[in-house]
């Protein structure tokens, strides 16, 4: 007699269910198995299946228990030192995008840039908090308005840390020689926004034709200069989505086949003006799946230069690989304000970009200190209570819990409180959809799908990624 590591289940369709345990091992089965599990009447072959797949142990300390505990432990990573910092040297911006009501100040506004004193304190804060490696993401406002501050931070990091990497998030409305000089270094990456066709991009961002033309000219130029150190994030509005094929064409035109598909999230007042309803959600989900299928169709025959959606690949890795936990929005425990922090234009420290937006819209102050007085451990600690999904009564019944994450800041931002039952949160609904979709692909018998899955996971050949208990 063996003991089965506790399972959770979810219906994938009328007749098939996915089962998984807390360590993240999963398989597909049916209602008959569910009934046997519920009645504690597993057959000999059920037990053999579960034992062979290391999902049941025959005695304490046996190989299966050890592998289960090891997986569980790998998914419970302790907090690590600060290594990813978002810096906002200025809040001023030269564009006025329709989504961005909160994280910008007018181009000529005063008092929205780091002072000399702030810069000094940012440096000393970093030297105290970062151990060996650092990734710096410059955000805004438009950070390129202060190339001088960025250069000083870059020089400082290169001198102080073993390894530095810089990502400049910019609208690329101005590309001057000083900027070209900065991005010529191999440790500098540029991330911009590209919403799709020039027409859509103009509607959502650049407003005038001349600004739009200037952006596309700059975008091409930077691409020629730094190749794949340039990336672009689309901002997609469920109410105004492009055709998947056109959308991918635009990205392909700039040699960008790895795309991160996210619908725009409105904050503060804009949320009231743009409520996201259930309908929008299903429109978005249809668009998302259509994009993925379009990518899969285009991947036939490809081996190295393939299309992928960043988040779906991450989800697949989280499902299959314990310890794959580098994404701050998709991990649990989510150590908020530990390895990842944002330092705002005024020197205040936040656990994430979304947290600073909420402070700005006056929803709630989630700052965890500032570079002058240092971290406020108490405020940081207060965020951890809901950052561990295994303790949530809903997540702990969900087969995707081990692979999913917890993001109390997102819950707060969208729902005004952090204790909303999980099924009612946007976070849960969004992730259930992608996990279900990932399962559909994993268990699909279509060779095209299996070919793309192998590409996304870096496998030499397609293999069965999911087990089935008949």
């Amino acid at each position: 007699m063996s003991s089965v590591f506790p399972l959770r289940f979810r219906r994938l369709s009328e007749s098939s269910l996915v089962f998984a345990n807390e360590a993240g091992q999963f398989f597909k089965s049916n209602d008959r198995f569910l009934e046997r599990l519920d009645n504690e009447k597993l057959t000999k072959s059920d037990q053999e299946f579960l034992f062979d797949h290391a999902m049941a142990s025959r005695r304490a300390g046996d190989i299966n228990e050890m592998s289960y505990l090891h997986r569980l432990a790998s998914r419970l990573r302790p907090p690590t030192d600060l290594s990813y910092v978002i810096l906002v040297p200025t809040l001023r911006c030269d564009l006025a995008c329709s989504y961005c009501q909160v994280s910008r100040a007018a181009i000529n506004a005063k008092g929205f840039d780091w002072s000399d004193e702030t810069l000094l304190n940012v440096k000393s804060y970093l030297s105290k908090s970062v151990s060996k490696r650092i990734q710096v993401e410059f955000q805004g406002g438009e950070p390129t308005l202060r190339l001088d501050l960025m250069s000083q931070i870059m020089d400082f990091c290169r001198e102080h840390f073993e390894e530095s990497r810089f990502i400049i998030c910019t609208n690329l409305s101005v590309v001057n020689e000083a900027f070209v000089d900065i991005i010529s270094a191999e440790d500098v990456f540029v991330s911009s926004s590209l919403d799709g066709s020039p027409d859509l991009h103009r509607k959502q961002r650049t407003n005038t034709k001349s600004q739009t033309d200037e952006f596309f000219k700059n975008f091409s130029r930077v691409g020629e200069l730094i190749g794949d150190r340039l990336s672009a994030l689309p901002t997609l509005d469920s109410k105004n989505l492009p055709a998947p094929s056109d959308f991918l064409d635009t990205f392909d035109h700039y040699n960008m086949r790895s795309v991160f598909l996210r619908p725009v999230v409105y904050h503060g007042f804009a949320r009231k003006r743009h409520p996201t309803s259930k309908d929008h959600q299903s429109v978005w989900q249809k668009f998302y799946e259509a994009c993925i299928y379009e990518m899969i169709a285009r991947n036939i025959g490809e081996t190295s230069d393939f299309y992928e959606e960043y988040y779906l690949t991450l989800i697949l890795k989280r499902l299959l690989r314990p310890g794959e936990d580098n994404h701050i929005d998709l991990r649990s425990p989510n150590w908020l304000g530990y390895d990842h922090q944002l330092i705002d234009y005024d020197g205040r420290i936040y656990p994430s970009d979304e947290a600073r937006m909420m402070a700005r819209t006056g929803q709630v102050d989630l700052s965890i200190g500032d570079v002058f007085a240092g971290l406020d451990e108490e405020k940081r600690g207060a965020l951890q209570g809901r950052a561990f999904n295994a303790l949530d009564p809903w997540c702990s019944q969900c087969p995707y819990q081990a692979a999913c994450g917890s993001d109390p800041i997102d819950d707060l931002a969208r729902h005004g409180r952090a204790d909303v039952p999980k099924p009612a949160t946007a976070y849960c609904q969004k992730h259930l959809h992608i996990f279900d979709f990932a399962m559909k692909l994993i268990y699909s018998e279509d060779k095209k799908n299996q070919h793309s899955l192998a590409l996304w996971l870096g496998l030499p050949s397609p293999i069965f990624l999911g087990d089935v208990l008949q």
Partner: protein
């Protein structure tokens, strides 16, 4: 090929054996260079004068050597400029693998004192291997050596090649100590089918013992490198082996898959044992894919670059120990020679592989 054992002459052949570091300057336990006559190097160790013929194209200064005046021999135990230094703990073994590259012997000479001295003299941050025979037949002495060396030389790393038949519950507490964090344990596993594994290692019950030992090692927090050799006897089961490892052994640090070495027992049984992966790469591809899908680190060893499909090349390691490595003449023209693992000196030919050749 690099000479590991060098003929030497001594001023006093009755001098007892000892460990020394060949050096230009006088120091702790050094045999100091005092003269060069042609290609002959003269060293002084206390009252003893040693003369060694310098091997062609090689620098032996800095090496840590085991000196045996009675046998007119100097053995290069730790070569300063190599990443492949392995000390032989014993030639005894409790398994008898069908392809063993170093067939076991019944006799055993205890060299722990010398091995310990050699480690103490090793260059900074070096990785030193222990092999056999089965090193853990002398578990107590080996553990004690690792602990003692670690207290003086915490910079050193070790690799112990063991059949893992001798770990016990009672070892866990001891192995959890920091000394053992510097050790990578290489453990062979040839099949997930107990009878296949047992028949390859020549010991009934070996698989069952492994399945008991591996969780003990994991609980002690040991770093484990699983090692599987491609053989006619297990190649068709390689995907299953990978599924077994992927589901039951997530705690191993790395899985090393290696092609057969034509030496030892494998030399005379080559055609019953060697499997040409270039002719049918499917089992290897599937095994790598399964392991990679769960995020396991995989390295392919002793596999020439040109003999595997493009998709597997990213997993190849340049691995053959420098002193055993060579290339056939044809490879001189090849554009990827510098990243290829090459061939074993004693069998440097592409003839075994149906597909492959200059790239």
């Amino acid at each position: 090929m690099i000479e590991l054992s060098l003929p030497a002459n001594f001023s006093d052949s009755s001098h007892l054996p000892f460990i020394a570091k060949l050096s230009r300057i006088d120091g702790h336990q050094t045999a100091t260079l005092v003269g060069e006559i042609g290609d002959e190097l003269m060293f002084q160790f206390q009252d003893l004068t040693i003369s060694i013929v310098q091997p062609v194209g090689e620098d032996i200064i800095g090496d840590i050597v085991f000196v045996e005046p009675a046998y007119n021999r100097v053995s290069r135990w730790i070569r300063e400029r190599s990443d492949h230094n392995t000390l032989l703990v014993t030639e005894r073994c409790d398994q008898l693998c069908i392809m063993c590259s170093q067939p076991p012997k019944k006799s055993h000479i205890d060299m722990f004192t010398f091995m310990e001295q050699a480690c103490m003299l090793a260059p900074q941050n070096m990785m030193i291997g222990f092999s056999g025979g089965e090193p853990l037949l002398y578990k107590e002495q080996l553990f004690a050596l690792l602990e003692k060396v670690h207290t003086v030389r915490p910079d050193l790393k070790f690799h112990v090649l063991t059949n893992a038949q001798h770990f016990e519950e009672d070892d866990v507490e001891r192995l959890r100590q920091t000394a053992f964090k510097s050790v990578l344990w290489g453990v062979p596993l040839y099949a997930s089918d107990p009878s296949t594994h047992d028949s390859i290692v020549g010991k009934i019950g070996a698989f069952e013992q492994l399945v008991t030992s591996l969780p003990i090692m994991a609980r002690a927090g040991l770093q484990i490198e699983l090692r599987s050799v491609l053989l006619k006897q297990n190649y068709h089961e390689f995907e299953q082996l990978s599924r077994f490892i992927s589901s039951k052994l997530p705690f191993v640090s790395v899985w090393a898959i290696m092609q057969l070495e034509r030496i030892g027992f494998a030399k005379n049984r080559w055609f019953e044992q060697f499997v040409d992966h270039s002719e049918n790469s499917e089992p290897l591809m599937a095994a790598v894919s399964v392991a990679k899908s769960v995020g396991l680190d995989i390295s392919l060893y002793n596999i020439p670059y040109c003999t595997v499909p493009q998709k597997l090349r990213g997993f190849l390691s340049q691995s053959i120990s420098d002193w055993k490595r060579s290339f056939p003449a044809d490879c001189e023209k090849c554009s990827v020679k510098s990243i290829c693992t090459g061939f074993f000196e004693w069998h440097s030919t592409l003839e075994d592989y149906k597909y492959g050749g200059v790239i």
